[in-house]
Symmetry: C2
Subunit: 526 residues, 2 copies
C-alpha cells in the first residue's frame, strides 16, 4: 500500500505540510495518493542515519551485500501493485513495465554476483623488500572502498531501472555506500513501493538502519539540500542538462566538493555513409522510423540527428523515413509537463529558418500523446544555427544533408559531447573514412556499427556516458557493473598487520580474488 | 643550455615581453638566466598543436609510447647540467637531486613498461548472442582511451619527480594524452632542461609535434588561460590548497567542466596508542624528529600532527622529540617566499592561546634556512581552534595531548581529509581500538602502521591522494602507475567490424592482454 510517507531509514515519516499527487497521463487525471514532501529535519535525519550506517555497511562482506541486493530483487518481484502503479504514473504500457522490472531485477542480481565474487575491489599488493638499497621497500596493499553516503535522483523516463532501486542505487549499495533517494515526483508511488521493498530486504538481511532512505520531493529544495549536505559524499542523477548542471555547480561550490555523475542530454548522431544509403536507404529508413519513436522517443539514446551527403539515396532515405514515421501510432508521454516541453521544443525546431518539415503527424491525438516529426536541413544551416543542435526530447529527428564528407566531418567536430554515435556503412566502407570515424569517436562514449543507438545492454563492456554535456564525467559509465567505480576510492595500507587487513588483502587470499601481486595478476596466496 | 624560451610544441618561442629569473636560496641571489613568459598567442598555439597531436598520439601503440617514455628517461640522464641547475634553483642538496632524478627516470620507465604490456586499457569484451530472446545481444567491446590534451602544473617541492616530466606528465603521455606543462617559476631552468629532453625524445621517436609543450609563467595568468582553454581536457596540479582550489573552481565553471586533479595540503596525523608510547616513546620521538625535518619539512606527507593520550610516556615522547629536533642542523628552504610563508605560519601557530612551545630553534641561521619548532596543545583547545588544524609547510609539528581515547576519536572525526594517517601501536594493540582505526581510515588515502608518512613508494599499491582538501578527487592516486586512470575514459564499440577494432579488442588478442571476456579474466583469444 502506498502511504505517501517518506522512509527516513527504516522509519516511515511524514512531518511536513507540503503535499502533492502524481498524474496519469493516459487518463489525463491526477492519481489519488497523496505524498508528503520531506522536511529539512527529515533530510538531516536521513543523512545522519546514512553516515552512521556507512561505518558498518562499508565493511559488510560481499556475500552479505549480495544477499541484500538479491533480497531487494525478490521483494520487488513480490510487489503486487507495482506494474499497475508504474503504468498509471508514467503512461507507459504494461509490457514496458514488465521489461523494465526485469532489467531492474537483473541489474540488482548482476551487482550481487559482482560483489559476491569480489574482485571488483581491485586488490593490489606489493610486498616488502626490507633489504632494498638505499631504502627498504614497505609492504603496500590497496583496494577499493566506498566513498560514503550517496544521493540518487530518480530518472523520469525509467521509473524502475534508473530510479529508486535502479542502476545508480544498485551500484552504490554494492560499493558499500548507503543510498538516499530523492524520489522523482512524477512516479512517487512507484518509488514508494520499490522503497518499501528495499527496506524490507534490508531488515530481512540485517542491514543497518540508514542504509537506504527514500525522500519525497515535488520541487528542487529537497534535492538542493541533499547535494549541499556535508554528510553526502557523491550524487547520481539522470535527467536534463539544466538540472544536472545545476546540481554539478552546487556540488562544486561546496566547501568539500563532491562528484556528481549526471547523465544528461544527447542527440546521438547517426552518420550514414554513401554506399550504405545506396544499398539500403529503405531498410535503414524503416528501422530508424521505429528507433525514433520507440518509447515515444523518451530514451536518452534516441537518434535525434541523422547525417548524410546529398544524393538520390539520401533523398530516398528521407522520403521513406517521412512516410514510415507517420504510419506509427502516436503514444503517450510520461507527463503533461514532458508533453508540453516536447511541443515547445518541436515547434521551435520547426520554425527555424531554412529547414524543411518532411514529416509532421498533425492528426488529432489523445491528451499527452506525442505527434512525431522529422525535419531536414543542409549542413551549412545546421553549423550556423546552434538552436538546431539542442535535444528535442520525444519522437523527433532531423536529417542533416551535407554537401560533402568534409563538411560532415567539420560538423561532427563541432558537435557537443554525446552518449552514442552510430555509423551506417556497407562492407569495407567504414575503413575508407577514418577521419569521420575518429571525429565521431572523439565526441561520444559508445560507437555503434550498422544498428540503432536505442537499447542499452547491461554488461561490463557497456559505456553509457560520454563527453560533456552527455554526462558530467566521461570517465565513468552509468550502466553496467563497471558503474560501481563511480562510488569508490582506492585505499592503501602500508605495513599493516596481516590479521587486521581486510580479507581481500590478506596473504591467504581467503576470498579467492584475482589480485595484482607484485605486478602479476593471480589468485594465488602469498 | 638554458635559453629561457618556451617550447610551443617542438618550436622554441619567446614572443612575450614579460621576463623573470629564478633564485638561488642557498646563496640568496638571483640566478642569471632570463625566462620569457608565454603570451596568450603562444598558449593558443600550444593547445592547438596538442589537440592536433592528440588525433595521432591517442592511437599510438603501447610499444611506441614506451619507446618515447624510455627515450625521455635516457635524455634526462644525458643532461649534463641538470643536477647543478636543480640545486641552484631549489636550495636542495645534490644527493636529493640525484635521488629525485632517479625517481623521475624510474617513473618514466615504469609507465613505459605499463603501456608496453598494455593490459592497463582494461579491455572488456561481451560477445554477441544473436538468438537471445526477447532481444538479440549485441557484441560490445570496451577499452580505456585518452581524454585529450592535459595541462600539468609543476610542484615547487619536486622540481623533477612532480614537475616537467614528473608523475603527472609520464602518466598522461602513457595514456596517449599530449601534455602542456605550466612551468614552475621557481625552477624554470630545471624545467627548461627537462623540456628539452622531452622534445629531443619526441623527435627521436617520431612523436607528433604538439605532444609536449613547456610554457614559462611567473604569475597566475598563463595557468588560468590554460585551464579555461576549451582545447584542454584535464589538469594535474600539486601545490597549495588555495592554488588548487582556484584551478578547480575555474575548471568547474567552464562551459564544459573538466577534471582537475589537485594534490594539495595535508598535515598527516599520527596516532600514538598508549602501549606503543609506554614501550617506545624515545625511539619514536627520535624517528619523528627526523621525519618532521626531512627535506626541510617540505614534503606533502610531512607529519604535522601527532596525537596521544596524556600520560608519562607521552610527556617523555614530547621531551625527547623537543631535545632531538633542535639538534638537527637547519637546512635551506626552496625559495624566500616559501621561507617567509613558513615563518608567518609558524609564528601564527606559536602565538595561539593555550599552546606550549616545546622546541624552537632560535639560533641564527643562514638566509632561507628554516628554524624547526614543535608545539603542544590539549585536545579541547585543538578541537576549538581551527587555526591549529592548518598546515605549516616546513619543519614544524604539533603534539595534541588528549584527555582520553574517546576525545582522540572525536578529534580525528573532525579533521579535514588527509593524504596519510599513521598508527603507532604495540603488538596486538591496534586490534583493541577499531573505532580509532576506522575514524582515521575515513579521513585519509593511505594508512601506515608503525612507520613514518614521509617516503612515498612508487608502485601499483600506492595511494597518494585522499579526501578533500588533501586532493580534489579521492578516487585517484597521483603516485604510482595507477595514476594513469586520471587521464582516461572508457570507450565502447558496439558490433564494430573486427578489422577496424583496435588491437586490444580484436578476437585474436594480438597484444596478448589480460582481458575480461564474457565475465572471465583471460589472455585467450576468442
Amino acid at each position: 500500500m502506498i502511504t505517501g510517507q517518506n522512509y527516513v531509514g527504516f522509519t516511515p515519516s511524514a512531518n511536513g505540510s507540503k503535499t502533492y499527487k502524481t498524474f496519469n497521463p493516459q487518463t489525463n487525471t491526477e492519481n489519488s495518493e497523496v505524498f508528503t514532501e520531506a522536511t529539512p529535519q527529515e533530510i538531516d535525519q536521513a543523512v545522519a542515519l546514512a553516515s552512521k550506517a556507512f561505518k558498518t555497511f562499508s565493511k559488510t562482506s560481499g556475500k552479505d551485500k549480495a544477499a541484500f541486493l538479491n533480497a531487494i530483487a525478490d521483494e520487488i518481484l513480490a510487489l503486487d501493485t507495482l506494474v499497475e502503479t508504474y503504468c498509471k504514473e508514467s503512461g507507459l504500457p504494461e509490457g514496458r513495465a514488465m521489461g523494465e522490472r526485469g532489467r531492474t531485477v537483473g541489474q540488482l542480481r548482476a551487482f550481487a554476483n559482482l560483489v559476491a565474487e569480489g574482485s571488483w575491489v581491485e586488490a593490489t599488493i606489493d610486498t616488502a623488500e626490507p633489504n632494498r638499497e638505499p631504502m627498504p621497500k614497505p609492504d603496500l596493499r590497496k583496494m577499493n572502498i566506498g566513498l560514503g553516503p550517496v544521493v540518487v535522483f530518480g530518472a523520469s523516463n525509467f521509473p524502475l531501472a534508473y530510479s529508486t532501486a535502479g542502476g545508480d542505487t544498485a551500484a552504490a549499495l554494492a560499493a558499500g555506500c548507503p543510498v538516499i533517494v530523492k524520489s522523482h515526483p512524477m512516479h512517487a508511488g512507484t518509488g514508494a513501493l520499490v522503497a518499501s521493498a528495499v527496506i524490507k530486504a534490508a531488515q530481512k538481511t540485517n542491514m543497518p538502519d540508514g542504509v537506504f532512505s527514500n525522500l519525497n520531493s515535488s520541487g528542487i529544495e529537497v534535492g538542493e539540500q541533499l547535494v549541499k549536505h556535508p554528510g553526502v559524499k557523491a550524487v547520481g542523477f539522470t535527467g536534463s542538462i539544466r538540472g544536472g548542471r545545476a546540481l554539478y555547480d552546487l556540488a562544486a561550490q561546496r566547501d568539500e566538493p563532491i562528484p556528481v555523475f549526471a547523465e544528461m542530454g544527447s542527440v546521438n548522431p547517426v552518420v550514414m555513409l554513401p554506399q550504405a544509403l545506396t544499398e539500403k536507404a529503405t531498410d535503414w529508413a524503416k528501422t530508424y522510423a521505429g528507433s525514433i519513436t520507440l518509447g515515444t522517443g523518451q530514451f536518452c539514446t534516441n537518434p535525434g540527428l541523422l547525417f548524410g551527403v546529398k544524393s538520390e539515396a539520401l533523398t530516398q532515405f528521407i522520403d521513406v523515413l517521412a512516410n514510415e514515421i507517420v504510419k506509427i501510432a502516436p503514444s503517450c508521454m510520461l507527463h503533461p509537463n514532458i508533453k508540453s516541453a516536447y511541443d515547445k521544443n518541436k515547434s521551435q525546431a520547426l520554425s527555424q529558418d531554412d529547414i524543411a518539415i518532411v514529416a509532421n503527424y498533425t492528426a488529432d491525438v489523445k491528451a499527452n500523446y506525442a505527434q512525431q516529426a522529422v525535419i531536414t536541413v543542409d549542413g551549412k544551416t545546421f553549423l550556423e544555427n546552434t538552436t538546431l543542435h539542442q535535444e528535442v526530447f520525444g519522437p523527433f529527428s532531423m536529417v542533416v544533408q551535407c554537401d560533402s564528407l568534409e563538411e560532415l566531418e567539420t560538423i561532427i567536430n563541432h558537435l557537443e559531447g554525446q552518449l552514442t554515435g552510430t555509423l551506417l556503412a556497407s562492407d569495407n566502407e567504414a575503413a575508407a573514412y577514418p577521419n569521420i570515424v575518429s571525429a565521431l569517436q572523439n565526441r561520444v562514449g559508445r560507437i555503434i556499427f550498422n544498428g540503432v543507438p536505442t537499447g542499452v545492454e547491461v554488461c561490463p563492456s557497456m559505456v553509457h556516458g560520454g563527453p560533456y554535456p552527455s554526462s558530467t564525467d566521461s570517465r565513468f559509465t552509468a550502466v553496467g557493473t563497471q558503474s560501481i567505480k563511480r562510488w569508490v576510492r582506492p585505499f592503501s595500507y602500508q605495513d599493516w598487520p596481516e590479521q587486521l587487513l581486510p580479507e581481500a588483502l590478506q596473504n591467504s587470499n581467503p576470498l579467492g580474488l584475482l589480485r595484482l601481486v607484485n605486478n602479476v595478476q593471480t589468485r594465488d596466496n602469498i
